[in-house]
């Protein structure tokens, strides 16, 4: 479970990037996080994962406060950032081994998971190559595999499907569904409204740092003229007026 309680964040003491955000993402659910560019999605994810300090409020991941118990809290989630261009000078296998060491994954389980997930994502044969030589999609899959090998209870994914080929996107969506069905939490940001519509149990919409809607699709449609598509509802919700 992710609990975001009254969180605010401003940059340079002026601009309120996040304004008193409250959000609870329960276990067993996939929650999509929507908002136009600059709405505060990435800032929220960065605060949830300890990349940015929180000005006001608290964020708990499975009951662990990200600011007070950072190391323990970071062990319960896995993050797929929006930019997979990292650890480029490592080989794929070295990166996964590095992650395995950080999360203390036993060697035999590590091996089993690496083999399974890299074969699923068709990057098994590229494991001995430098990540620098991978395409954007392959890098994305490598980062996703890095999350999967330590099997965290909470998945936080920032635009996870960008750059993935249809087969890999399908596999990842299936994995997200299975993970949530096992009673875990999946939270992901996306600009792909149809993916959110098709996959999520609930959707949180943020604009100008404020949560403007949180609920399931039915509730969303009920609130904003039932026959409209999510795209239209989204545009209406996030328009400047």
């Amino acid at each position: 479970m992710i609990e975001i309680n009254d969180v605010s964040k401003s940059f340079y003491g002026k601009h309120n990037a996040i304004n008193r955000l409250n959000l609870v993402i329960p276990d067993g659910k996939i929650v999509g996080f929507l908002g136009p560019n600059g709405a505060g999605k990435s800032t929220t994810i960065k605060m949830m994962t300890g990349i940015l300090p929180i000005d006001v409020g608290t964020i708990k991941l499975n009951g662990l406060d990200i600011e007070k118990q950072p190391l323990e809290a970071k062990k319960v989630f896995g993050l797929v950032p929006d930019q997979p261009d990292m650890f480029l000078r490592l080989k794929g296998i070295e990166y996964l081994n590095f992650i395995g060491n950080i999360f203390n994954v036993p060697s035999d389980i590590r091996k089993e998971r690496i083999e399974y997930f890299t074969k699923q994502f068709s990057i098994y044969e590229a494991l001995e190559d430098y990540i620098q030589t991978y395409s954007h999609g392959m890098r994305q899959k490598m980062i996703v595999t890095g999350v999967l090998i330590h099997d965290p209870a909470i998945w936080i994914l920032d635009e996870p499907l960008t750059g993935l080929d249809p087969k890999s996107a399908y596999i990842l969506k299936e994995m997200m569904r299975n993970h949530a069905d096992k009673g875990n939490t999946v939270f992901f940001s996306s600009h792909g409204l149809e993916v959110v519509e098709q996959l999520c149990d609930a959707v949180a919409i943020i604009n100008k740092g404020k949560l403007i809607f949180y609920g399931n699709m039915e509730e969303l449609r009920a609130q904003y003229q039932s026959d409209q598509s999510l795209e239209k509802v989204f545009l209406e919700l996030t328009s400047d007026e």
Binding site: L71, K75, Q83, F98, N101, S107, D108, Y124, E128, D129
Partner: protein
């Protein structure tokens, strides 16, 4: 032409841009200026006295022109060596070229754009080395207006030939090196080969300097007007022509030599542009692809070794340094150049005579102090610690969401720098054994320098934590225009330079054990203070503030 100018401006901006606020940087410059001003006055007056005394010594024999020959020859050699390093970095190791290639630029335009920054550095070096000596010679010889006019014009021409020659050699080499599939590895091999080439030139120059033969030749040459100048610059026409231009500034012959040097310079520039058009892009556009290797469960099994986090992180740091050509050159290879040159100088210049005369006169205490301060100063110029955080660039945030204890990250980063310093220390160890410094003195130095290396790594890492440069687009930018390297050097070299000086001069402590206790004590106190500073930063979540 507009495109070339635009490209030059953009490339320069990219190298020096710093999106952070600039006010704090001004202070760095002000402090550096205050510090460097008295040093430059001392330097200029030293050069002036030196040139004046040599001039008055050589002038009665009609051989004063050799000073100009030596000046031009040495500045050309220095700029050639510098060009080698900077061409390699700017033309080949910097990946930013990839982003310019899709634009409709000619290869020569890209080359000129890329050459701007190295040229800037060459002019700064030329100004520091050439101008004081040139003006001193002018005042000693009562130089006329044409002398100064020619001299200033030559200053503008000086960097072109050494730069063009170095660039042509490298472009030719890289054209073939990049055929190899792994571009990074090829770049590293070519880079190291270039450094070896520079060292080889140094060795050859020294081997050819046969002192007994030279004395015989000198007596003959001294009988002819400007005989020495002819000898010194015999194998290098640009130095000969430049020196003769200044020497004959008042006559038409001076003008003739000046025209000759202009022709030579333009020729070098044209050759550089032509070779660039032919070879440059072919050398840059290597395919950076790995070899596809068959994977198997057994292979993965072999790779699966559970390691402590600090060790795994340190290995990651070292892998990144050794596999990134720019990092390898800046952090490892350049640090080795200093000690290698010392070895070359000792082996070829002085041989056993040096050992007997100078080293033989030193006490054990002085051996330890001499070894310590030279090795410590070289270590304190290493850029590995001052780039500990900056090397991560925009991906620094990955350290924040992973469950990494900041203290472990710090320890691993300092340990990685410390391990890299072992290369320099090993070279000094070889050097110490070569010149037969007593074994117990070497052993004591080793303990002190290993501790000193930890301090240097910690100080550099701390300074980088205070002022990291994460917002770079190309690895080259990371090492440009950063003053924290100078600060680290001034702090470490200055503080321990004073301590060494005091210990050298004091008569109260004569044993090497006595001074080693003082040195080790000082180092441990400094390490303790830096640790305290780290702890304070950690309590304020320094990692999140980067």
């Amino acid at each position: 032409m507009n495109n070339t100018w635009l490209l030059m401006k953009t490339m320069l901006k990219m190298q020096f841009s710093n999106p952070e606020n600039k006010k704090s940087h001004i202070w760095f410059y002000v402090i550096s200026f205050i510090f460097l001003l008295p040093l430059s006055v001392i330097y200029i007056s030293f050069i002036n006295r030196f040139i004046h005394s040599l001039y008055s010594g050589l002038q009665p024999f009609g051989q004063e022109s050799v000073l100009l020959g030596i000046l031009f020859l040495s500045i050309h050699i220095l700029l050639f060596i510098m060009s080698f390093v900077s061409v390699l970095s700017a033309f080949y190791f910097a990946d930013d070229i990839q982003s310019y290639i899709p634009f409709p630029f000619q290869a020569y335009q890209l080359l000129l754009g890329k050459a701007t920054l190295p040229f800037l550095y060459l002019y700064v070096t030329a100004a520091i080395v050439y101008l004081p000596a040139f003006f001193s010679y002018g005042s000693a010889s009562g130089g006329s207006l044409p002398y100064y006019l020619y001299g200033i014009s030559l200053f503008l021409l000086i960097p072109i030939i050494p730069f063009s020659v170095a660039a042509i050699i490298l472009m030719f080499m890289m054209r073939f090196v990049n055929i190899a599939k792994n571009k990074d590895r090829s770049k590293i091999i070519a880079g190291i080969a270039s450094f070896l080439f520079i060292i080889l030139i140094n060795v050859l120059i020294r081997l050819n300097a046969d002192s007994t033969k030279m004395i015989d030749e000198l007596t003959v040459l001294l009988k002819n007007q400007d005989g020495l100048l002819n000898m010194v610059t015999a194998f290098y026409p640009p130095a000969y022509l430049s020196a003769r231009t200044l020497n004959e500034a008042e006559s038409w012959i001076g003008l003739f030599f000046f025209i000759m040097i202009i022709v030579l310079t333009v020729g070098a520039l044209l050759l550089f542009a032509t070779m660039g058009q032919l070879f440059y892009l072919k050398g840059v556009l290597g395919v950076n692809s790995g070899r596809k290797r068959k994977m198997s469960g057994q292979k993965i099994q072999r790779r699966m070794k559970s390691r402590p986090v600090w060790l795994s992180y340190m290995k990651k740091e070292l892998r990144v340094i050794f596999r990134t050509p720019t990092f390898l050159m800046q952090c490892v290879v350049q640090g080795l150049l200093g000690p290698i040159f010392i070895v070359v100088i000792l082996l070829f210049d002085f041989g056993t005579g040096f050992q007997a005369d100078f080293l033989g006169s030193l006490s054990d205490k002085q051996y330890v102090l001499l070894l310590f301060i030279t090795s410590f100063i070289i270590i304190s110029t290493n850029v590995t610690p001052i780039s500990s955080f900056s090397r991560e660039g925009k991906t620094w945030y990955s350290n924040l969401y992973l469950p990494l204890d900041p203290k472990q990250v710090l320890f691993s980063k300092i340990a990685a720098s410390w391990l890299i310093n072992l290369f320099v220390i090993s070279l000094f160890l070889i050097l110490a054994l070569l010149v037969r410094i007593p074994f117990d003195a070497v052993l004591i130095w080793l303990v002190i320098i290993l501790t000193g290396s930890w301090l240097a790594s910690s100080v550099g890492t701390y300074l980088d934590l205070l002022k990291p440069k994460l917002d770079w687009t190309d690895e080259q930018e990371l090492f440009k225009g950063r003053l924290i390297g100078l600060i680290a050097f001034l702090f470490e070299g200055g503080l321990f330079g004073i301590i060494t000086f005091v210990l050298w001069r004091t008569e109260r402590i004569q044993t090497m054990y006595g001074i080693s206790i003082i040195l080790l004590g000082s180092l441990f106190i400094c390490i303790f203070i830096v640790n305290k500073l780290f702890n304070k930063k950690m309590r304020n979540n320094a990692f999140q503030q980067l």
